[in-house]
Amino acid sequence: MSAPLTSLDRPNSYIGRSVPRPNAKRLLAGRGRYVSDLKLPRMLYAAFLRSPHAHAKIISIDIERARALEGVHLVATGADLAKICTPWTGTLDHFKGMTSSPQLPLPLDRVVWAGQAVVAVVAESRAIAEDALELIEVDYEDLPVVVDIDGAREAGGPLINPGSANNICFRSQLDNGTVDDAFAHAAHVVEEEFSFGRHTAVTLEPRAIVADYDPAAGMLTVHHATQTPYQFQDLYSRHYGIPEARVRVIATDIGGSFGMKLHVYHEDMAVVGLSILLGRPVKYVADRIESFVSDIHARDHRVRARMALDAKGEILAMDVLDLTAIGAFSTYPRTSVVEGNQVIRLIGAPYRFKNYRASLEVIFQNKVQTSQYRAVGHPIACAVTERLVDMAAAKVGLDPFAIRAQNVIADDAYPQTSPTGYRFEALSHQACLKRLHEMMDYDALRAEQAELRKRGVYRGIGIAAFVEITNPSPAFYGVGGARISSQDGAIVSLTPSGEVRCLISVTEQGQGTEAIISQIVADQLGLAQEHVKVVTGDTEVTPHGGATWACRGAGIGGETALRAARALKRNILEIAALILQEQPSALDIIDGEVVDAATRQQRLPIAEIARIAYFRSDTLPPGTQAQLTVGHHFAPQGYPFAFTNGIQGCSMEVDVETGFIKVLKHFIVEDCGRVINPMLVDEQLRGGIVQGLGAALFEECRYSETGQLVNGSLADYLVPMPMEMPDIVIAHVETPTADTELGAKGCGEAGTAAASACVLNAVNDALTPFGATINSIPITPAKVLKALKRF
């Protein structure tokens, strides 16, 4: 007996199918073309002298010996670049009252973090440029350094930005319902203070840029390893005063980004200026040591939170204070307050309660900037919520699954508004919870845990429910005045040979964007996928759009491609109908052939339609103008954001003598709406979970009291490696959004959102027999041994 036919059994049905990504073979064969592979004629190389001080006044800079070195073409200071580049400020209007100092490519008189670029050298080779750096003498005068949250908030303490009243960047408050009343009448209250260390993206390919200014044409071309070429086209145009149409940003192959490659970096802005000053291409590739001190970092939060419950374990209220330190500036153009903002708005998101109060305080300090990085704010919101839920379960005497089942918003209760004001279209917490329970074989795991404890083996089981924010509308940046698009554009053409080319504004960084776009276009048009060529990442070729961030590639980019493909199909069938003397509605396209819609009988290859339209238009009826290139833009409407949800679980073992943790197995049930390519979704979830486990157990940017990053190398900053990673078991629930035809939401951040919360809960579960608790991430052997009072 064969299974009943599904939509996947129709020809060219690529939506929902695991097809390999077309670019994988090229990249694996070493045929990728990254910015660092690029060699342009007359190209020069930049290197930067960096500040050894976390906070100091620049007294003098002596560049004469560096300038005299053979092979050096330019030595530039902050003053040189300030003449041609206007300053930028990392604030947005919808974050009321936020402040941040103006920034320039290189500082004029003060350095504010250790590792900040101070002087640029451009030379015939990177090695010569570095030789010249050694010949530059900068005289600094130390200023008081602010490194930790408490020091930064101290009244009368040192100020990072002269002229400001304090080191506060932004404050925000939410207060919904009757929080004080709920706590006053609660049967149970649980409370904890959490800390979350800084970490950073550590992309396989570091930041890289080649700026090529042609003074004769007045044209700037920038080859840039970025997620968001249009955003940079706009910024280079405005800050260097070059008309937008004469700025071209090309984002070729990118080796990972995770949000790190969409911020303005001082070196990148400087390189553009250096190319303008020299009239030659200038290349800069951050090396790993530089990446650690200049790529954005993320997290760095301290959260005090409490939760009120009734006697039966019903959550009544939450009250939260999030303090987060972001470095000396707010990042441009997306700011550094979005993470904190999302922390206080995503806390409690899976649950039904209505009384919620939160304060956010965003603080400056003398460290490199933090900003948006994969799962912005989610891991913190999730860990705080889910740990409190577990603590509450223990207090009330409920199993972790039972308390969640009791409190999550019911699957049939949507639409709903969260206590923090987010509007949820449709989520599936109950279905996910049920599926996870089965998938983990939860009762057997608990039985095994009890058995092993008798033998001195301490296993922990943790679960964590989450809500992920995706597909942002203009409510995210546009309303704040940022020229960051929430729409995307696609141009779809039928080639003279009957293939299809799709130029689209969403970009590819290794996650498979091009694969899913070609799947959608092929599916909608009725073509074999290999006959669809997708082109991304060149502002002179692809239409303007938001590109890739906040998991918008599938939901917004995919919908754009879908609608563009449908429009092209209509146009193709119109021509086909004229040729075949039929109504367009009586025709369809299957496998590149126009067919009779009812009988599927083949009538005409689309290659023939292309041939006639392009080369024998004289044979078409008079007045016919074939439109075989279609442009289409799509901006999300309806809900301001799409929300996805899911739940993760993990089983681990804690060595209570050494504090070492071994994650045995990790589970996720995830609902990203329509799944376009299950293999790629699973890859995103696995990668995201591994990044979350890295945060939970290994990754932390550690600073000395003087503001020096003490572990800024891959030997000392521990990224998760395969030997320490568990098998990851994945299941899906599909609740498509009704806001789009495609119904896809997004899946890139779901893994990272809850993995660390899950580990936190599992470790605390393992330590229960000892009465020891952990409230700090990453969970290192030192913290476990401290909690166990072993040293």
Partner: protein
């Protein structure tokens, strides 16, 4: 980062290598596997004028028996510690330690002599030369000499090697039928420098330990033998009381340095746990 410019000389013999070094003096460095030196050059932590490549010197290669010793040529690569049958038979402690030395790509290039010469206190092999009571053969401007591992490691990255001298081979006493060994380390990730590591070699008569050498790494400025702990075990049979005594003795043997990530008390605790586990395994292998 890019290394500063340097000259390069490929020596064909030990003599050529020593002569080249004598000519340039302090500004010369010998290079073999380059797994520590090349990163140091790239970071410009070192900027020698001349690199003397010793990897083509045949006399520095090969593993063979010589009297009561296994002579392990200085250029023996870490990966050969895993594949060389003579090492498996006569220096099994080295074979046991080898999988913990970094990652395969590094083991393919890094050399035994280079690791001992650098004397990184967090490295496995220098510490194992102490446990094995190995002797280090050195060639220099004033001729060749052999020095006990016990006398070789002086301070942080400081050894008995004089400027211009070169390790030519390490001599390891042949493993005997009445000997037992154990090795393990605690690293956050496989292949990382360990938080604490330890290897030991015991000579036993039945349950009784006639002699034992226990060497730790990642516990201080040099690879460290724990003679106090050894003394609590020698002449006794291995039981839980003796193991506890050995663990307690570590407090006098080790003085871990201040470290923001692993405080001294934690490192000492981990050393005790590791010692207890390894001695337990040593007892089981009787």
């Amino acid at each position: 980062m890019k290394a500063r410019a340097f000259s390069y000389f490929r020596a064909a013999t030990i003599e050529q290598a020593l002569d080249a070094h004598a000519l340039v003096g302090d500004d010369a460095r010998f290079i073999a596997g380059g797994q520590s030196l090349v990163p140091a050059l790239s970071l410009r932590l070192q900027a020698p004028r001349l690199l003397i490549d010793i990897t083509h010197i045949g006399e520095l290669r090969g593993v063979r028996r010589e009297g009561g010793f296994l002579r392990i040529g200085a250029l023996t690569r870490h990966c050969e510690m895993l594949s060389e049958p003579l090492i498996a038979e006569f220096a099994p402690l080295l074979q046991a330690a080898a999988p913990f030395v970094a990652h395969p790509a590094i083991r393919n290039r890094g050399t035994f002599g280079g690791s001992v010469a650098l004397a990184d206190p967090a490295s496995e092999f220098p510490a194992m030369t102490l446990a094995l009571d190995a002797e280090i053969e050195i060639a220099g401007p004033s001729g060749s000499r052999r020095i006990k591992a016990d006398d070789f490691f002086i301070d942080l990255f400081e050894t008995a090697l004089q400027p211009g001298e070169l390790i030519t081979a390490i001599y390891v006493p042949l493993f005997k039928a009445d000997q037992r060994f154990a090795f393990d380390e605690m690293a956050r990730r496989r292949g990382d420098y360990a938080l604490v590591g330890c290897g030991m070699l015991a000579t036993c008569a039945g349950d009784r330990i006639n002699d034992i050498r226990i060497s730790f790494f990642s516990v201080g400025n040099t690879p460290t033998r724990v003679k106090g702990a050894e003394a609590t075990l020698i002449g006794s049979s291995l039981n839980s009381e003796r193991i506890a005594a050995a663990q307690a003795a570590l407090e006098g043997d080790l003085a871990p340095p201040e470290n923001d990530e692993v405080p001294p008390a934690m490192r000492l605790h981990l050393a005790r746990v590791l010692l207890g586990r390894l001695l337990g395994r040593l007892g089981e292998s009787a």
